[in-house]
Every structure is written in structure tokens, then in C-alpha cells.
């Protein structure tokens, strides 16, 4: 008997302590959740502001650049049309491509900045989530420890109240787990999905712009390169033809000159030969003169052969020099063509590499899209369709039932009205019968036949 009040007091104290612990845990969890929500909201607002500012800046920059480029391009185009010079157009196209590349770089920088911001934000979010988790786990551990201690003490003191304590502990645990799960779900999916969707949309826009600009640049670059190569080829061919024609003309002219000189020499020699012959005829008699003449003839012949050899050697040297010059020019042109081809191939490789990376990204996105489509279209879609069909059928049955109900209600109302009318008529007849029964059938010592007839009629009615 003495122990009973003590047990009651102990029970009450235990309840109070459990309630206090519960309220403190709930308040701490709610405070932590609110603080994290506030932090997340602040961060979200700042991030959205920064993002909007960056967007606005990039848009204004792009617009200004495009307007400037358009103006510049228009002015230059007009100049080019006026001057009708293809070189200026090529320069303009190069400038245009450079400006486009700059714009692309700016866009890429903006995208990288956004990516970096998103990474930083994601790190912060992960840290906050981890800290919240740690805090929650710590508080849960502390709670569990406290509860265990209390339960142990309670077990020692009161064996009967063990079941109640265990139930309360389980309730507390379930409450804490529900709170954690809610916090995780709220913190995890909601915010991350929003930010990720926005970033995905941005990425898709930037990728589209990037691909369009790259394709445009690629086409322009290819066309420019082809035109340049064709022009250079044509120029080289023209130069080659000119050089060949000039050289052939020069060679022919020089050959003609040499042949003329040779002919002149031959003529001179023939003249000198004739004069020597005449001299020979004149001074045939004298042997000394003959010998002199023979000597002079040999000298002239030697001179002739020497002149012929000299002219041949000079022609050959000039020919070799021209040949070497042409070979060097041809080698230079070949080297230039090779350099241009290498540049062109490098550019094509660079563009193909860029295309590969974008293709990989697009494949990844396509995979995720496929997954999403499978989830949307495939996951329990048959059950959903069946349920929807069943819903439609049930709603049709409901509509029919409602129609039936309305018709029966109408019937009920009509029958009620008819019953009321009939009851009114009955009352009137009863009143009339009562009124008629009050008047006597005998008047002045005679039976009133009309009264009797009326009574009969009323009774019948």
C-alpha cells in the first residue's frame, strides 16, 4: 500500500520527462528545418537574382554585339559593293567569324560561370543537408540514449509500465523518422529539381545556339576555304601558264635572236669566205698568201665555233636558271597548299571533336529522356488506363443512377401532389356532407327530394 503512491509519482515524473523530451526534440527539429528552409530560400533568391542578372547582361551584350556586327557588316558590305573587291569581302567574313567566335566565347563563359555557381550552390546544399542530417542523427542518438536510460530505470522500478514505455519510444522514433524523411524529401527533391530543370533548359538553349552557330561557322569556313583554295589554284595555274608562255616566248625569241646572229655570222663568214676566195683567186699564185689565207680561214672557223659554243652555253645556263626558279616557285606553292590543307584538316578535326562532345551530351540527354518517357509511358500505364476506363464506366453508371433518381423524385413529387389534391377534395366533400347533414330533409312537413338526392350524390362521391 505504501509503494502505490510512489509508483504513481514515478509514472507521472516519467510521463513529464518523456513529454519534455518529445517537445524539446520536436522544437529542435522544427527550428533546424525552419533555419535550413530559410537558408535555402535566401540562397535560392540570391541565386535566382544572380542568374537573372547574368542572363540580362549576356542578353544585352549579345544584342549589342549583334547590332554592332550587323551595322559593321552592313557598312562594310556597302563599301565592298561600291568597290567591287572580293578581298574586302573575305576580310569582312573573317571579322564576322571572329566576332561570332568572341560571342560564342562570351556565351561559353556565361555558361561556365552558371555551372560554377550551380556547383557551389550544390556543394552548399549538400553541406547543409549533411549538417542537418548530422544534427538530426545526433539528436536522435541523444534521444535514444535518454530514452534507453529512462526505460532501464523504469524497467527496474516498474515492470508493468514497460510496454507503455516501449510503445512511446516507438512512437517517438516514428515521429523523428517521419520528420527526417520530410526534411530530406523537401530539401532534396524540391529545390534540386527546380534548379536542375532551369539549368537543363538553359543548357539546351545554349547548346542549340552553339550548334547553330558552329554549323553556320563550319559551312562558312568550308565555303571560304574552298573558294580560297580554288582561287589560289586558279592563280597558280594562271601564273604557271604565264611563266611557261613567257619562258617559251623568251626561249623562242632568244633562239630566233641566236639563229639571226648565227645567220648574220654565217653571212659575214660567207662574205669573208668569198672575199678570201677572191683573195685566194687573186693571190693563188703566191704560196705564202695561201698559207696566210688558210690561217685566217682556220681562225675564222675557230671564232665561229667558239661563238656557237658560247651562245649554246649561255642559253643552257639561262634555261637551267629558269628551271631552278620555276622549281623553287612550284615548291613554294606546293608548301603553301600543304600548309592550307593541314590547317583545313585541323579545323575539320577540331569541329568534329566539338561535334563528338556535343553528340555525347546529346546521347546522355536522349538516354535520360528515354528513361523519362519509359517511366511516363510504360510504368503501370496499363493499370492506369484500366482504372481510368473503370472510372469512366462508374461515372456513366453514376450518371444513369442520378437520372433514375431524378425521375423517381419527379414521380414522388407528382404522386405527393396528387395525394395532397385528393386529400383536399376529400376534406371538401366531408365538409359538404357535414354541412348537408346539418340541414334537415323535412321542410314544412314534407320530405325534400332534392335534399335526399344531393345526400345520395355526396355519399356516392
Amino acid at each position: 500500500m505504501l509503494l502505490l503512491p510512489k509508483v504513481d509519482t514515478l509514472k507521472e515524473s516519467m510521463r513529464q520527462t518523456i513529454n519534455e523530451i518529445k517537445t524539446s526534440a520536436e522544437s529542435s527539429i522544427i527550428e533546424a528545418a525552419n533555419a535550413s528552409k530559410n537558408n535555402l530560400n535566401r540562397w535560392r533568391v540570391t541565386f535566382q537574382k544572380e542568374k537573372a542578372e547574368l542572363h540580362a547582361e549576356s542578353a544585352t551584350k549579345i544584342e549589342s554585339l549583334t547590332s554592332e556586327l550587323k551595322e559593321f557588316y552592313g557598312k562594310k558590305e556597302n563599301d565592298a559593293v561600291r568597290l567591287n573587291e572580293e578581298t574586302i569581302r573575305q576580310k569582312l567574313e573573317k571579322q564576322h567569324t571572329d566576332d561570332f567566335e568572341k560571342k560564342l566565347k562570351v556565351e561559353r563563359d556565361v555558361y561556365r560561370r552558371l555551372e560554377a555557381d550551380f556547383k557551389v550552390a550544390r556543394k552548399l546544399w549538400i553541406k547543409e543537408r549533411a549538417s542537418l542530417k548530422d544534427e538530426g542523427q545526433r539528436s536522435m542518438l541523444i534521444l535514444e540514449e535518454k530514452l534507453k536510460q529512462q526505460a532501464k530505470a523504469f524497467e527496474i522500478k516498474q515492470i508493468k509500465s514497460q510496454e507503455e514505455v516501449e510503445e512511446r519510444v516507438s512512437e517517438e522514433r516514428s515521429c523523428v523518422i517521419v520528420c527526417f524523411s520530410r526534411i530530406e524529401v523537401i530539401n532534396g527533391h524540391f529545390h534540386f529539381m527546380k534548379v536542375f530543370r532551369e539549368l537543363q533548359e538553359q543548357q539546351i538553349r545554349i547548346e542549340d545556339r552553339y550548334s547553330i552557330t558552329i554549323n553556320n561557322l563550319k559551312d562558312k569556313y568550308k565555303v571560304n576555304q574552298r573558294n580560297e583554295l580554288e582561287k589560289e589554284k586558279a592563280k597558280l595555274e594562271e601564273k604557271w601558264k604565264k611563266v611557261v608562255s613567257k619562258n617559251s616566248e623568251k626561249a623562242s625569241q632568244e633562239l630566233e635572236k641566236l639563229s639571226m646572229e648565227l645567220e648574220n655570222c654565217e653571212k659575214q663568214l660567207v662574205g669573208s669566205h668569198r672575199s678570201t676566195r677572191s683573195m685566194k683567186e687573186k693571190f693563188e699564185a703566191s704560196i705564202e698568201d695561201k698559207a696566210l689565207l688558210e690561217k685566217s680561214m682556220g681562225f675564222v672557223q675557230k671564232n665561229l665555233s667558239f661563238l656557237h659554243l658560247r651562245s649554246l652555253v649561255g642559253y643552257m645556263i639561262e634555261r637551267q636558271k629558269e628551271k631552278s626558279r620555276k622549281e623553287t616557285e612550284f615548291a613554294n606553292y606546293e608548301y603553301k597548299i600543304k600548309v592550307l590543307e593541314q590547317k583545313y584538316m585541323e579545323e575539320i578535326e577540331h569541329i568534329s571533336r566539338g561535334n563528338d562532345s556535343t553528340k555525347k551530351e546529346s546521347r546522355k540527354l536522349a538516354k535520360t529522356l528515354k528513361l523519362v518517357r519509359n517511366i511516363i509511358v510504360g510504368h503501370k500505364s496499363e493499370d492506369l488506363q484500366k482504372m481510368r476506363r473503370r472510372c469512366v464506366e462508374i461515372s456513366e453508371v453514376l450518371a444513369e443512377v442520378e437520372k433514375e433518381g431524378k425521375a423517381i423524385k419527379k414521380k414522388r413529387d407528382l404522386s405527393g401532389k396528387e395525394i395532397d389534391k385528393m386529400q383536399d377534395n376529400l376534406r371538401k366533400l366531408e365538409d359538404q356532407i357535414q354541412a348537408h347533414s346539418k340541414t334537415s330533409a323535412v321542410q314544412n312537413g314534407r320530405i325534400n327530394m332534392s335534399h335526399a338526392r344531393k345526400k345520395r350524390k355526396l355519399d356516392e362521391e
Binding site: 555551372e115 550551380f118 556547383k119 550544390r122 532534396g188 527533391h189 534540386f192 529539381m193 536542375f196 530543370r197 539549368l199 537543363q200 543548357q203 551530351e361 546522355k364 540527354l365 538516354k367 535520360t368 528513361l371 523519362v372 517511366i375 511516363i376 510504368h379 503501370k380 493499370d383 492506369l384 482504372m387 481510368r388 473503370r390 472510372c391 462508374i394 461515372s395 453508371v397 453514376l398 443512377v401 442520378e402 433514375e404 433518381g405 423517381i408 423524385k409 414521380k411 414522388r412 404522386s415 405527393g416 396528387e418 395525394i419 385528393m422 386529400q423 376529400l426
Partner: protein, 63 residues
């Protein structure tokens, strides 16, 4: 009077039919609610799966 009694009997029958129809209506509405709840459950399950897939793909993209 007989006619009135007949009419009253008819009225009572009609009321019984009406109560039966109301019961049927309640049963059908309950089944409809159950179906709607199951549809909502499936849709939420789908949403959770979508969140999970998009979350993983997003992480891959960031990496």
C-alpha cells in the same frame, strides 16, 4: 380513400427505390474515390521515379 391508400403505397415504394438508389450512389462514389486514390498513388510513384532518374542524370551532367 382506397385510391389514396394505393397512391400512398406507391409513394412509399418510390421512396424505398429512392433510398436504394442513394445507397447505390454512395457505394459507387466510394469505389470512384478508391480508384481516384489508386490513380493518385500511381502518379505519385511515377513522379518519385522521375525525380530519381532526373536527379541521377543531373548529377552525371554536372560531373
Amino acid at each position: 380513400m382506397e385510391e389514396i391508400e394505393e397512391k400512398r403505397c406507391n409513394f412509399v415504394k418510390v421512396e424505398d427505390r429512392l433510398s436504394n438508389i442513394d445507397k447505390r450512389k454512395d457505394i459507387i462514389e466510394a469505389s470512384l474515390k478508391k480508384l481516384e486514390q489508386s490513380i493518385v498513388d500511381i502518379v505519385t510513384e511515377k513522379q518519385v521515379m522521375l525525380f530519381e532518374t532526373l536527379g541521377s542524370s543531373g548529377e552525371d551532367c554536372i560531373k
